[in-house]
Amino acid sequence: MAGLTFKNVFKQYGRTKAQQVFDADKTVALDADKSVDATVRRVAAQIDNQYAVNDFSLECPDGEFIGILGPSGCGKTTSLRMVAGLEEITRGEILIGGRMVNNLHPKDRDIGLAFEDYALYPPLNVFENIAFNLRAKGLPDEEIRRKVMEIAPLMKVEDLLDAKPAGLSGGQKQRVNIARALVRSPSVLLLDEPLSHLDGKMRQILRTEIKRIHKQINCTTILVTHDQLEAMSLSDRIAIMKDGRLQQFGTPLEVYDNPVNVFVAGFIGEPPMNLFKVGIIGNARERYFHFAERGIKVRVPDKYGKAVFPGDMVVLGVRPTDVLIEPDNPAATDAKVAVFENLGDEKRISIEVGPEDYLTLITDNEKRYKPGVGIKIIFRESKTHIFDKSTGERIQGE
């Protein structure tokens, strides 16, 4: 059992030695020459783009379940593979239980990795697949048997021990894959998109299983996924990455309720948060978000009184569940229903706020709306977010 720490970790895209030397020279030049001229700055920008993982720092306390979430190509799998020792670390440090592992052989890092596409050993049966690591350590046969028999029921693969990987279903393969990672009692368990190749039902079952196993063995676990639902449901805390950079690190609730920027806001949540570029109009006391194309005005919450002013452009973010229908509220805004979808336990209403731009709201109200009818809406003030239109960073209210 141990915590895991990333300290300013960089990973350069695969480049030849010569190119790396070239880049290093440029970096030195950059540091030495403070009178930054345009060419040097351009080189700096190029170097910046060469990192698959860029200044990544993360602290995972012992026993926690951390989800690394991001779109494909954001560097999340690379980060995981750097922990495992399958990728070299260009710069920075990775510590497991306070011990720097940068230069350790993968087998000495005390980690278990479940590969995305299982990577079981085809010539060996399930028992030998799980036992493979123990065999390498040269444990006596009866101890290997004992350990495998301990893990097999946990992962529910005890009936498959004689089968060859080729005969297993995807879900079974993934169970064996995780069992193989667990059998060595690792300090840190790494799961690389464990559910991405499974179909809907099996995905749900195995998701619950992973949660259960983590509760049971309480091992520091890193889950890499592009599925926000998976990350939200499994993780104690979520790290959201984009283009090699960490965007936000916090509990699922934190990242859901207080996204630090437009990217996180749009990435977390299903259906996604409504994000619109809007103008601010009004006067010193009363300010409104203005959807100019359809002339819709929504009151700006008071907490943003000192943050935005008439004439500003901002990105407005509000989750579909935080748009409320309040016919009796005098402050509510008039709008027109464009689409009404009844999904059974929830109803989705789309309101046209611009050409091809729809504000979605979700309600469990039983009332049915016909397209074209008027509707009065307000935004839940505490859950209305605004973001800087150029940087995408969240603008804090009071």
């Binding site: 495992a84 993968p106 596409d117 079981l120 085809p122 010539p123």
Partner: protein, 272 residues
């Protein structure tokens, strides 16, 4: 879909004709080997079988030495090809290096050039560096025959093995040679067996190279068979015996590995 009786009949009829056509020369060769010189040119199938040719060739000539020579150079060539070709195929499948495809294609291109094209410069080079008429020299030149097949078949096999499997084994604490023996070798075995045996047959049948690059101390059977063409007469019977005995190992090998051959050359490593 069930095929109709008519197409079934004609298909098999065609196959029978084709088999007769392909096998007839072999059949005729075996017949010749049992004929006496007097009956050699009769075109009927009726003759008095004799073992004289066999006795002459097998007991009174150095046929067995030649047979052994062939075994040494062909076997040696396949062993060398395996030792060098397996790592080469692995490297071509796994690593990215400049000129990788060119290198792979060059290995394949050894098969394109007619042997006669390269053999003349080779004679000169071999004479200069003392490889002419040596086992090593022949084994080396046979690499042109055996290596391309082995490398290209095994490259495909290695490419079919996900690299994660090796990484998993690495995480499990295995050294590269352990990973090779425990994980990779079982996966490439069908391809290795098929490619090795097929290239052995090609090497065994090789004629141009041993004819021109050896012939005094080392005489493979393919070359030895020529000796029965004398200045005054051609001893067809003895030649047929030599050819028949030479073909035996190949026939046996082909029958034994038939299953491997078809599977090994047409199946990937981890499919199915």
């Amino acid at each position: 879909m069930r095929e109709s009786a008519v197409s079934f009949f004609f298909r098999n009829l065609f196959l029978v004709f084709w088999a007769l056509f392909a096998l007839f020369p072999l059949f005729w060769m075996v017949l010749l080997s049992f004929k006496s010189d007097a009956e050699m040119f009769s075109t009927t199938f009726i003759f008095t079988p004799t073992l004289d040719n066999y006795i002459n060739v097998l007991l009174h000539t150095n046929y067995f030495r030649c047979f052994l020579d062939n075994l040494i150079v062909s076997g040696g060539a396949v062993i060398l090809s395996t030792l060098v070709g397996v790592p080469a195929a692995y490297a071509l499948a796994r690593f990215n290096f400049p000129g990788k495809e060119d290198l792979a294609f060059q290995i394949l291109s050894f098969k394109f050039a007619p042997e006669m094209l390269v053999v003349l410069p080779l004679i000169i080079i071999y004479n200069r560096i003392g490889l002419y008429d040596t086992y090593l020299g022949l084994i080396w030149v046979y690499q042109l025959i055996t290596m391309p097949l082995l490398v290209w078949v095994l490259r495909g096999y290695f490419e079919d093995i996900p690299v994660e499997v090796e990484q998993a084994a690495q995480l499990d604490g295995y050294k590269w040679h352990q990973i090779f023996w425990k994980i990779l070798l079982p996966l490439i075995r069908p391809g290795l067996v098929a490619a090795a045996l097929l290239s052995f047959i090609f090497a065994w049948n090789s004629f141009t190279f041993p004819l021109l690059l050896s012939g005094i101390k080392i005489i493979p059977v393919t070359v030895e068979a020529l000796r029965y063409i004398g200045t005054d007469t051609i001893r067809y019977g003895q030649m047929a015996v030599a050819a028949t005995v030479t073909a035996l190992p190949e026939v046996v090998l082909a029958l034994v590995i038939q299953k491997h051959l078809v599977r090994g050359l047409s199946f990937g490593a981890v499919k199915g």
